[in-house]
Structure formats: C-alpha cells, structure tokens
C-alpha cells in the first residue's frame, strides 16, 4: 500500500519498518512490565529463575558427568523457554495489538518481530549470566561463544517462523491455540534439551534427528563443551525449517490482514 502515486523507495520502506518495530518494542515493554523503573528486570528474572531451578534440580541428582552440570541444563532450558514462549504467545499477538492496525504502516509481521527481538535480547542476557555463573561455580569457560550465539540465533529464527504460521492460523481458527500450547509442552522431551544424540541407541538417533531443535541443541553443546562430546548437527536441515515456515507464515499473515475485522 504505497502512500503516493510514485512507488516509495525500498530504503524508505526499510527505514519505516525499523521505526515501527522500534516503537512497538518500547510499547510492548510498557504493556508487559509497566512503567516502573525496574519493571524491565522481569524480562531477565523470569527465565533466570526458571532456568536456575531446573538446573539445580538436575544438578543435585548426583553424578559428575557433564550431563549433571549446571551449564548443561540452565542454558539449554532458557533457550527452550524462549522457543516455547515465542510460539505460545503467537496466538495472542494479533488480538493484543488490534488497535494499532489502524495505523497503516503497522504490519502484522512487525508485531511478531518486535516481540521476538525482545525475547532474543532477554535470552542472550540470561545466557551470558548463566555462562558466567557456570564458570564461577568451577566449570570450564565455553569452547566457542560464537557457536552458542549461532545456536541461539537459529533457535529464535526457528521459533519465529513457527510463530508466524501459528499467528496466521489462529487468526482464522482460534481453537488451534490450545493445541499449540499442548504441543509445545509435549515437545519438551524430544527437543534435545535433555540428551546428546550420541547417548541414544542408533535407531532412536535417526528418529530424533528429524526434530530441528535437536540439531540446534547439539550446536549449542558443541559451543559450550567442545570436544567433550561428539555433536551431530546439520545446519542446512535447520535452515529449511526456518525458511519454509517463514514463507508460509508471511503469506498467511498477508491473507489474514485482509480478513481480520478491526472493530
């Protein structure tokens, strides 16, 4: 929807989109955490608390393999937490922001991008805190921080693609929301959070490698622990899981924008 007779330049569109997403981020922070000065800290506190609790429960069960260390669970868990949060929140993204669609430069994908950027920043921050805490608790520093950040980036993009699809679908069929919540919860044991592929029997390895998050967790552990494990991942496979849902989701949201009533 161009503003004037001549088509606007791509760079102007990009600038406008950046502006809108920036404004949406500020607005989202205000609605989610209030306007109190320390409200933003909740953004980090919630995953921090959850990740730490899970890690402590697993950590105190004894044994001294890497599986039982603090880093294995804490960082893995917050990544899964971000993944699940992005997908579960997708169904409310459009309804919560419906009033803003009165401004024609606010597009449906922008609403999702803004939320996802917040999620990614929170996750990165908490990941840094856990990494430092892990070292302080006597663990070794990570083998490759770049690999860890790549894993986080891929996880966010994977969740984003799925969230766009879920957002488009739930705008038409609201009931799907419940299914999404159940699925994202039931996925936990198969996500790759609790195991390394090399620990599994061979027949199960082949099955588990169909799950895209398994590859991402393997990459994360490769970055965290380096040679202490044999990590198995195929990033091309993950790329397909990112690209195809993005395409479907963006097309779906374009259709949804024409169909949703504003009042």
């Amino acid at each position: 929807m161009s503003g004037s007779g001549s088509e606007p330049l791509l760079i102007d569109c990009a600038r406008q989109q950046v502006r809108v997403i920036g404004a949406l981020i500020v607005r989202e922070m205000h609605t989610r955490f209030g306007r109190h000065r320390f409200g933003y800290l909740w953004l980090f506190f919630e995953p921090l608390l959850l990740g730490a609790m899970i890690a402590l429960i697993h950590g105190f069960r004894g044994g001294d393999s890497v599986r039982n260390t603090f880093e294995f669970f804490s960082i893995g868990y917050i990544m899964f937490f971000a993944f699940r949060g992005m997908i579960n929140r997708a169904s409310s993204t459009i309804t919560a922001n419906r009033g803003l669609l009165y401004h024609r430069q606010v597009t449906l994908p922008d609403l999702f991008y803004a939320r996802h950027i917040i999620e990614a920043v929170a996750c990165t921050g908490v990941m840094a805190i856990f990494t430092i805490a892990g070292i302080a608790l006597g663990g070794e520093p990570p083998d490759s921080i770049v690999k860890m950040l790549c894993a986080l980036g891929l996880m966010v993009l994977l969740a984003q693609g799925i969230a766009l699809v879920v957002g488009a679908l739930t705008s038409e069929w609201e009931a799907l929301d419940r299914l999404v919540h159940a699925m994202s919860y039931l996925m936990l044991p198969f996500s790759g959070l609790f195991f390394m592929v090399e620990w599994l029997p061979e027949w199960m390895q082949a099955i588990m490698l169909w799950v895209p998050t398994v590859h991402i967790f393997e990459l994360l552990r490769d970055g965290q622990f380096g040679d202490r494990f044999r990590a198995t991942y195929d990033l091309t496979y993950v790329a397909y899981w990112i690209l195809v849902p993005h395409l479907l989701g963006l097309v779906g949201l374009r259709l949804a924008r024409q169909r949703i009533g504003l009042e």
Binding site: G5, R27, H103, L262
Partner: protein, 212 residues
C-alpha cells in the same frame, strides 16, 4: 493532490452468503476539501472510513491516494487502551517519524486532558478519547484528516479550536449528526444502501439524509 475511490466494493462473509456493504462507490476528495459523509447506523460508514484510511482492502475496485491521509480517528481507533494518553502519543509520533516530545507537548496544550494525559486510555470518557485522537493527529499533521464520529467536536471550546485549526486542511468526517456537517464541512455526501451520493449544496444533502 487527491484521494480517489474507483468503483469500490466491499463485502464480508456471513454465516450464509456474504453481506455487501459497499456496492460501487466512486468519489474524489481533493486536498483542502472538507467533506461530510452522512449515513444512518449500519450503512457502512465505518467500513468506508477504513477503506479511505487504507487499512482495509476493498473486495473489488481501487483506492488511489496522492496526499497524506490520517488514520481513521474515532473512539477506539489506533490506541492501546492499557497505556496512558502520553504513551500512545509517543508511540504514534515514533511510527510517523515526528519529534516525540514536541508531539506530547502539543497534545498536552490542545486536548484539555489535564492529569488524565498520564492515565491509561481505558479510564477516559468517550469525549476525552476523541479529543486525544484528534489532538494527536493534529500534532502529526496530515493533508487530510479522517474522522469517524468525533463526539467531542461540538460547540465547545475544543470544538471551536478544532474547527479553526482545520480551516486550512482537508477533512473527511463520517457521521450521523447533521449539525457536525453543517459546522465543519464545505461539501456533503449521503451513504445509503452501499452507494455514496454527493451534493454540491449541504442543505440538499441534509434534506435527503433526513428523509431516509
């Protein structure tokens, strides 16, 4: 500079079949024109406004615009009601690339909201909401303001200030109140049964509207 509607149709899916709200609307709104569109309840006034604001696509036909048109300013439109008036102001200033503080200052001086500017919009009366919407849009400044039932614009201090402020801008106001059209507009149209009919003479439009 103008906003043009060319054979615009709009229909919505219903339980059985489709509801045809607009059936071939043709119109040209030029820059600086102040047009009142009169319509009874349920004749598709709000639908028309959303089309003009290009936030809803027509089922058929075309909408062309070569001037800047505001978002449809109304009671609920364009706000996040859990946030304060000032926060909404800042958000809108950001997305339209206007200086944030200047926008807030303008709204503070124009909207007559007092302390309520820092209260959530969902605590506002309907008059306050429309004053906020109108004030923000005036601060952003458009070639043409698009207003859907601005209740507060009557013969009040705010109403007179608003009328004075838009003397040099375009306005499209969609309403069921003939008095508003008489107060603010230079041209009038009546929306009935999915078509829009323009009248050069405002009295003629009002007479037609009253006979509906």
């Amino acid at each position: 500079m103008a906003l043009e509607l060319i054979d615009v149709h709009k229909s919505y899916p219903m339980n059985i079949g489709r509801k045809h709200v607009l059936r071939g609307v043709n119109a040209t709104f030029r820059r600086g024109e102040r047009v009142g569109v009169l319509g009874r309840n349920g004749t598709g006034k709000s639908t028309l406004v959303r089309m003009l604001g290009r936030i809803e696509a027509p089922t058929r036909g075309k909408i062309q615009s070569s001037m800047s048109v505001s978002w449809p300013i109304g009671l609920a439109a364009g706000f996040q009601s859990a946030l304060s008036g000032a926060d909404n102001c800042r958000f809108i200033a950001r997305i339209y690339d206007r200086p944030v503080q200047a926008t807030v200052d303008y709204v503070e001086s124009f909207a007559e909201l007092g302390e309520y500017l820092n209260m959530p919009v969902n605590t506002y009366s309907s008059g306050m909401r429309s004053r906020l919407g109108l004030a923000i849009s005036l601060a952003i400044d458009f070639d043409c303001f698009l207003v859907d039932e601005a209740l507060a614009v009557g013969d009040t201090k705010f109403g007179r200030a608003f009328a004075a402020r838009i003397q040099n801008s375009g306005l499209i106001i969609v309403t069921h109140q003939p008095s508003l059209v008489r107060q603010l507009c230079t041209r009038a149209a009546v929306l009935d049964q999915g078509t829009l009919t323009f009248y050069e003479d405002i009295d003629e439009a009002l007479a037609t509207y009253n006979s509906l």
